[in-house]
């Protein structure tokens, strides 16, 4: 029985890993669109107002793009190997926390202020950035206090928010396929749909674990 549960868990983990690698590949492809640095490639094609009027926009945007791909990978490794490979868990975890607190979340908040889709989207992205910073920071401070369970829960929250990079884009593909909405109408929806359900799901998992 124990062996069965164990093998079930391994299969589940395998599926999770493969799914992540697939989507990480997509994210990597998006990131590589920005190599070499260009001021009017991909998403920046519709951001020329900001690029030309705010000299700090482009550098901060690139900080976000280049740092976040590493945060996504480091975070996955840390969460995936939460019980074994202690060294790898700690190493990747430190990278994750360091990148987010210093680069990804702060730059994310800044770009959020100038997000497409009007106030509805801006509020969402800024809030997402603030929560990402806070949850990551809390998780870090809990482990400093050797409070493993709280560390774990806060890191789940943090990484659920990090994964919004993927879920947001997934929702976009689905909703565009189904309804063909105008680009900024969909943008307002996915701005929230990208992370709120993730967070709710994680809160549910945390509640389940606590019981």
């Amino acid at each position: 029985m124990l062996g069965f549960i164990r093998s079930k868990k391994i299969i589940l983990k395998g599926i999770v890993a493969i799914t992540f690698i697939y989507f990480f590949g997509l994210m990597l492809k998006i990131t590589l669109d920005y190599v070499p640095v260009s001021s009017n490639v991909s998403f920046l094609m519709i951001k020329q107002t900001e690029v030309t009027s705010r000299p700090e926009y482009l550098p901060i945007f690139y900080v976000h793009v280049y740092s976040s791909i590493f945060a996504l990978m480091a975070g996955f490794i840390a969460v995936f190997f939460d019980n074994n490979l202690k060294y790898l868990h700690r190493f990747s975890g430190r990278i994750y926390v360091f990148i987010i607190l210093l680069f990804s979340s702060l730059s994310g908040i800044y770009i959020g202020v100038f997000a497409n889709g009007g106030l509805v989207a801006k509020v969402s992205f800024v809030l997402l950035g603030i929560l990402w910073f806070y949850t990551t920071y809390r998780s870090y401070s809990e482990i400093r206090k050797k409070n493993i369970q709280q560390h774990k829960f806060w890191m789940w929250r943090s990484y659920a928010l990090a994964l919004s990079a993927i879920t947001l884009r997934m929702w976009k593909v689905i909703l565009v396929y189904l309804y063909h909405p105008n680009p900024m109408d969909i943008y307002q929806i996915i701005a929230w749909l990208g992370w709120v359900p993730n967070l709710l799901l994680v809160e549910y998992l945390i509640k389940k674990q606590k019981r």
Binding site: N40, M45, I46, Q48, R169, K172, H180, P183, Y187
Partner: protein
Amino acid sequence: MKSRNLIFASLILSVTLLSCKKGEKSAEKGKSDSLVSKKEVQQEFHKEWYGIYTGDFNSKPKPTEYGNEIEEYKKISVKINRITKDSVYGYSVVNGNQRSFRGILNENTLGLILDEPGNDKSDGRFQLKLKQDSLVGDWIAFNKTSVKSPEKTLKLTRKEFAYNPNFMLSKDQSEDSDYENPVDWNGGKVKKNSFVNDEGKTETYENTFYRSASDNVFKINASKQKLAEKDLKNLRKLDLQIIRNTVFARHGYSFKKETYRQFFENTDWYVPVSNNVDADLTPLEKENVALLARLEKYAEDHYDTFGR
């Protein structure tokens, strides 16, 4: 632009004529100048017939088992630039294919025989008759095997072309269709669906989806207002394409793409007169066109893909 050049040329011509009358000043000019003016000093006739004639350019009806059928429907513009004692000069433009012609006018019958240069496989001869403000007749390809319809009929009426930045597509102009807004009938996407029928078998059927434009194509005028990214970000690709190409339509651009032709050929203001109007765009239009093109590219690459 060509029409402007020609107007300019005829201006020069009338100026030289005037100056000749006034005195013999032009005789003092250099040799090359006198050669040019000799060439240009050719009396022109029937200037009242100069202008643009536009209308149907259809293949000749062919008898089939269902009656006579017309295979090809096209629009043509014929521009008569100059009529001299022995020649008629001008050009025609069909679907962005602009060809000059030269021919003769029979003053008794008011018949025109106009030949295209003949170095293109779709060149041919027009045989037309002038009747007040209309030009009617046919066209026969020089090489009958090289084109789909070697014999065509023309029914043209005279139209004035004038650039006006206020021209827009409007809702009522598409009243002959069931759709109020422009629909791209050429870019349909086929989607396959399947269902299980009464006998438990799976059947598939196909639906074709066409893009339709929003009301923004009636409101946003890229010839008059300076457009910003924020005005256009929420538009779908077709809207952007129409708004951009309306600029070219105002300048009399003859579209190569069927998609764009169908939107403008139903309007009363669109007169295709040239296959290149780039030089005619105002600085404002040039800026807007570049912006619209950029957003079109973004919409094309990113609208339905994994990304933003």
